[in-house]
């Protein structure tokens, strides 16, 4: 009797576990719109070179041309 009750409980626990895990999966497959937008911005900025943090400085004339040459 007690064993039977235990197996019923075990079955219920198993079902709850399956439910919990599937809930996780469901949450995970929601499309992360904000993250995708951030990723897109990052890649577009690089491809179009929109935000050059270390933009190459215009080469300054380091040495004046020697007029004698």
């Amino acid at each position: 009797m007690n064993m039977h009750r235990n197996s019923v409980l075990a079955g219920a626990a198993m079902m709850a576990a399956v439910l919990a895990v599937s809930a996780c999966v469901t949450i995970n497959i929601y499309f992360p719109a904000a993250a995708a937008e951030k990723a897109a911005d990052h890649i577009i900025d690089e491809v179009w070179q929109l935000q050059q943090k270390d933009a190459p400085k215009k080469a300054e004339p380091a040495t004046e041309k020697d007029p004698t040459k």
């Binding site: 626990a13 709850a16 996780c24 993250a35 995708a36 937008e37 990052h42 890649i43 491809v47």
Partner: protein, 141 residues
């Protein structure tokens, strides 16, 4: 019975923790070799495409691709090359959207990633470039 209940509670706790962890990850994975390669190919190609964007020959379509919208704006001898560069760009863009979805373990996200990119390409386009609205109508920015 108490043991079963305890197990149950542990499972539920683990599930909540996992969920929280997934949500804490606010970024998509975009640092893979495949994505880096596509990005640099597209960056190199941009120098060829930029004059076409500026002249209006090529525009940014609402499906995340680039399209030849007015071939007459491309000098005849350059038209073949223009078509090639457009085709190469669109192939790389499609691969990029696919790779991002794959790198994040959800190949089914590809269409949503494509539409996110489509919006952002258009938003970031320079004034004077041609962009397409949701009804496929071209307009100059």
């Amino acid at each position: 019975m108490t043991k079963t209940l305890r197990t149950l509670i542990h499972i539920m706790l683990a599930a909540f923790l996992l969920t929280g962890f997934a949500h804490a990850q606010g970024n998509l994975e975009i640092n893979t070799p495949a994505i880096a390669q596509l990005k640099s190919a597209m960056q190199g190609r941009h120098a060829q495409l930029a004059p076409f964007y500026a002249s209006g020959a090529v525009g940014l379509a609402h499906d995340g691709t680039v399209q030849l919208r007015d071939a007459s704006l491309v000098p005849l001898p350059q038209r073949g090359a223009a078509n090639n560069v457009i085709a190469a760009e669109n192939a790389d863009r499609a691969a990029l959207y696919r790779e991002i979805a794959r790198a994040n373990g959800n190949p089914s996200w590809e269409a949503e990633i494509r539409s996110t990119f489509a919006t952002r390409w258009i938003d970031k386009a320079q004034p004077g470039w041609w962009v397409q609205n949701a009804s496929s109508v071209w307009a100059k920015k």
